[in-house]
């Protein structure tokens, strides 16, 4: 009771086109983000376990605190590549079946 099991991994990603180098993320999530010499974030691309609650919370702070909304936290259950390709939908039920 009252135990939240945190499984899986997350990754903090930045959209480099939206990012304007405000640097809020490095303040809000110093354990995940550090800045390069021009003030743009360098984020480790290795997934962080969700069990690391501190890191996850700072990632969420950084995501919400970004003035350009360029950051997003992606959760992943298995170490599979993220993709925007939707799975093929099941075939719709044929007309004959529906009338029965």
């Amino acid at each position: 009771m009252g135990v939240i099991r945190r499984t899986g991994m997350f990754i903090l990603q930045v959209n480099p086109i939206l990012c304007d180098g405000f640097g809020h993320c490095a303040e809000l999530a110093p354990e995940l983000v550090h800045l390069d010499e021009w003030g743009y974030p360098i984020i480790s691309q290795e997934p962080v376990p969700m069990a690391d609650i501190g890191a996850y919370q700072s990632a969420r702070y950084a995501e919400r605190g970004c003035p350009r909304q360029a950051l997003h936290v992606t959760k992943m259950s298995a170490p599979a590549p993220v993709s925007n390709v939707p799975l093929t939908r099941a075939r719709p039920v044929s007309r004959e079946r529906r009338t029965l």
């Binding site: 086109i17 010499e37 021009w38 590549p81």
Partner: protein, 424 residues
């Protein structure tokens, strides 16, 4: 019908003007209804000729299972200043490219084809326009073909920038987290393929995979169209059998027989040292040197040239061609160019610049929305490695004789003013 083991294939029947539809049909027989197009394409082992070398069947398979109003985009943008292959192909055999595009459209079930040629090449645009009109007059059934003319920029030929232009009239790359990513015009899934890839599909659809594999290596079959430039007696576009030793290609073009280095794959590519030019020209042999065929560019650098000075010119131009969307690319690439200039000038500052260059390469890599900064980083790293000897000379004394002379060998367009760059 073209015999299996003969070259040229893609340039068959090439004269100094494009083949008309009738001539094209006489040269290659009219494309019939090939029912097993997909199996033939799969068996042919064709990889994309635009630079990334992605297997064409995997792309087609991904798009085939999508729904919606699909598009096929033929990429004839030719972003690399040293390349002329798409232009040459579209101004000799435009109908072969269009045939291939129609076959791809048939495979994925696309309803429209967009062929993109940079508006800075009015001759090629005219040739393609004429070819499309010829087909329209013949009233060939099939999807409609549109000609689009985006502005010529280095990154405008990148696939997401091209789709962005077709979708929204801006030649800027898009952010695509995660691969594979399906590009869309409006909501329609879009297949983007290089013009040379389309021409190869046109041949595979006619003569089959067996015929296609009769040239090239087993891993990397077919032919490649290469543009040979630099210290060459006859700068030319050649169609070569994949796996031909690089020496033979250079000899055909009348190049310097003992060059200092050869740039492969374009300005986002890497250098091959002059003593390694016996390597067969195909991806599996070149991958030993961490090189690839890329966009089919072979730029020869002679012994008297200064490799560092040439690298600086290329990186300066590449930095200028950045779309300035992502910070690491917009600020990082000019910084790389400045560091290279410091190295060219030599002296004590140069030593620090080399160390900084290595650091900055590590910082910039993989942090852009497209692969433009990664290509520049690969080029800079390979320049540092291959011209290590030159760099030592520069750091010890002033610039070498090659850097001081005004002779330059790589083609680099003039830098335009930043405000004059046209993106739409």
């Amino acid at each position: 019908m073209i015999q299996a083991h003969t070259l040229p294939r893609l340039f068959a029947g090439a004269t100094n003007k494009p083949l008309s539809l009738t001539e094209h049909e006489r040269m290659f027989e009219p494309s019939g209804d090939v029912s097993n197009l997909l199996e033939e394409l799969d068996a042919s082992g064709l990889v994309g000729r635009g630079g990334a070398g992605f297997p064409t069947t995997r792309k087609v398979d991904l798009l085939r299972h999508q729904r919606g109003h699909k598009y096929v985009v033929v990429n004839g943008m030719e972003g690399e200043p040293a390349a002329h292959k798409d232009n040459r192909l579209l101004s000799t055999n435009p109908h072969l490219v269009l045939d291939g595009a129609e076959m791809l459209a048939q495979m994925i079930g696309a309803s429209r084809i967009a062929i993109c040629v940079a508006r800075d090449n009015p001759t090629v645009v005219n040739h393609v326009e004429r070819a499309i009109h010829e087909r329209a007059r013949r009233n060939l059934r099939g999807p409609g073909i549109d000609l689009h003319t985006p502005p010529w920029r280095y990154v405008a030929g990148e696939e997401s920038a091209l789709v962005h232009w077709l979708d929204d009239n801006e030649s800027l790359p898009q952010y695509r987290p995660g691969r594979p990513h399906i590009l869309r015009i409006g909501r329609g899934p879009t297949l983007v393929d290089n013009a040379e890839t389309c021409a190869n599909v046109g041949l595979i659809g006619r003569y089959g995979a067996q015929w296609f594999r009769s040239l090239g290596t087993s891993e990397h079959p077919g032919t490649a169209v290469v543009s040979v430039t630099g210290a060459v007696a006859r700068p030319n576009v050649l169609e070569v059998n994949l796996g031909t030793p690089l020496t033979n290609i250079l000899a055909t073009a009348g190049a310097d027989t003992s060059p200092q280095a050869v740039l492969l794959g374009g300005y986002g590519g890497a250098w091959l040292r002059g003593d390694q030019i016996n390597t067969p020209y195909c991806n599996e042999s070149l991958s030993e040197f961490k090189l690839s065929v890329g966009a089919g560019i072979i730029a020869v650098l002679p012994r008297q040239a200064c490799g560092v000075a040439e690298a600086h010119r290329v990186v300066r131009w590449m930095a200028h061609e950045s779309a300035r969307q992502c910070g690491p690319c917009a600020f990082g690439l000019p910084a790389l160019a400045d560091d290279l200039l410091t190295v060219v000038r030599g002296g004590r500052d140069g030593v620090a610049a080399i160390a900084r260059l290595q650091d900055r390469c590590g910082v910039i890599e993989g942090r852009g929305a497209c692969r433009h900064p990664d290509g520049v980083v690969r080029f800079v790293r390979s320049s540092i490695e291959v011209f290590a000897h030159d760099i030592d000379d520069h750091l010890r004394g002033g610039p070498c004789a090659g850097a001081r002379s005004n002779q330059r060998f790589l083609t680099v367009p003039a830098l335009e003013h930043e405000e004059e760059l046209i993106w739409e």
